[in-house]
């Protein structure tokens, strides 16, 4: 499982404009449209927000991973957004969120999706990885950070 097969520089927003959770999710969903893999953006967002209502995907350490399976996407889609000032994501630890990974998968690709999430989760446990993601100065630099940590 190579995360960089799915998360590409064009799907990364280094300075999210959104001021709240829902706007951030909408902003990130829009980034994925040129991929041609999102068939119905509104339905995709609806599934993501329904999942958020089960409990926030703000998992602590200033990270959120909103995610959902939906027929509105083909395969696995991943976008990343960085909020410099931080967003209220109703995180479990109460802190604001700076790093947001938006994931959607077609239900037929659950296996890939679960592996992606598990691999990402392991990387995000690494403080240095989170700090390098926070300070990367471009989307290309961010992908290099991901590649470096994937190999380690």
């Amino acid at each position: 499982m190579r995360l960089t097969d799915f998360l590409r520089p064009e799907f990364c927003l280094m300075d999210l404009k959104a001021g709240n959770k829902e706007s951030a999710i909408k902003e990130l969903a829009s980034v994925l449209l040129p991929s041609g893999k999102v068939n119905d953006k509104e339905d995709f967002i609806k599934h993501i927000m329904e999942r958020e209502r089960l409990g926030s995907t703000g998992i602590g350490n200033h990270v959120a991973i909103p995610h959902a399976p939906t027929q509105s996407v083909d395969g696995l889609v991943v976008a990343f957004g960085r909020s410099i000032g931080g967003l209220d994501f109703q995180s479990l630890d109460g802190d604001e969120v700076n790093l947001i990974f938006l994931l959607g998968t077609n239900p037929q690709d659950l296996g890939t999706y679960l592996k992606f999430l598990a691999t990402l989760s392991r990387l995000l446990n690494n403080r240095q990885f989170r700090e390098e993601f926070m300070t990367a100065d471009s989307a290309a630099a961010l992908i290099e950070v991901l590649k470096k940590h994937e190999k380690s």
Partner: protein, 159 residues
């Protein structure tokens, strides 16, 4: 004497190719074919523990994976029947590598057939990749199936 062939499947295109090859092997060697699909509840537990999933969500994924596994195994059973191969399927849950190894021991498989594995992306992947673990820990000989086009032809010619 080779009596049993076991194939580990995940529902991926590679595992379908491996299954076709395993059916060919079982037919030619006149052996029984065991097919194992494991619902990866280990990864679901890991995602629950890391708080990426909530309980209800993890249970829903587990049900979906179970349904997908059933459909895939039924498809394989029909494929084996169509080629006159005696086939038994198992839908298991747990750690994929542990369940496959346990089943190899339980049925006394002589050959394990696996789909082609992707290149390892990191040193740590050796510890986390379930296919890699099965490959290294298998108590019997392992056949890793490559060349999809060749396998498709073999399978088509098998009557």
């Amino acid at each position: 004497m080779i009596k049993n062939v076991l194939v580990s499947v995940s529902g991926s295109p590679n595992s379908l190719t491996a299954t076709k090859y395993a059916i060919c092997l079982a037919k030619v060697m006149q052996t029984k074919l065991f097919v194992v699909y494991v619902i990866d509840s280990k990864v679901l537990s890991e995602l629950l523990k890391s708080r990426i999933f909530v309980e209800a969500e993890a249970r829903a994924y587990e049900r979906d994976l179970e349904q997908q596994g059933k459909v895939f195994l039924e498809r394989i059973k029909k494929m084996a029947d169509s080629r006159g191969v005696d086939c038994e399927t198992f839908l298991l849950r747990g750690s994929v590598s542990e369940e496959v190894i346990n089943k190899i021991n339980e049925v006394g498989a002589d050959i394990l057939v696996m789909g082609e594995m992707k290149e390892l992306t990191s040193r740590s992947a050796v510890f986390y990749d379930e296919g890699e673990r099965i490959f290294r820990k298998s108590p019997c000989s392992v056949v890793m199936v490559k060349n999809q086009a060749m396998v498709e032809n073999l399978y088509k010619e098998l009557v």
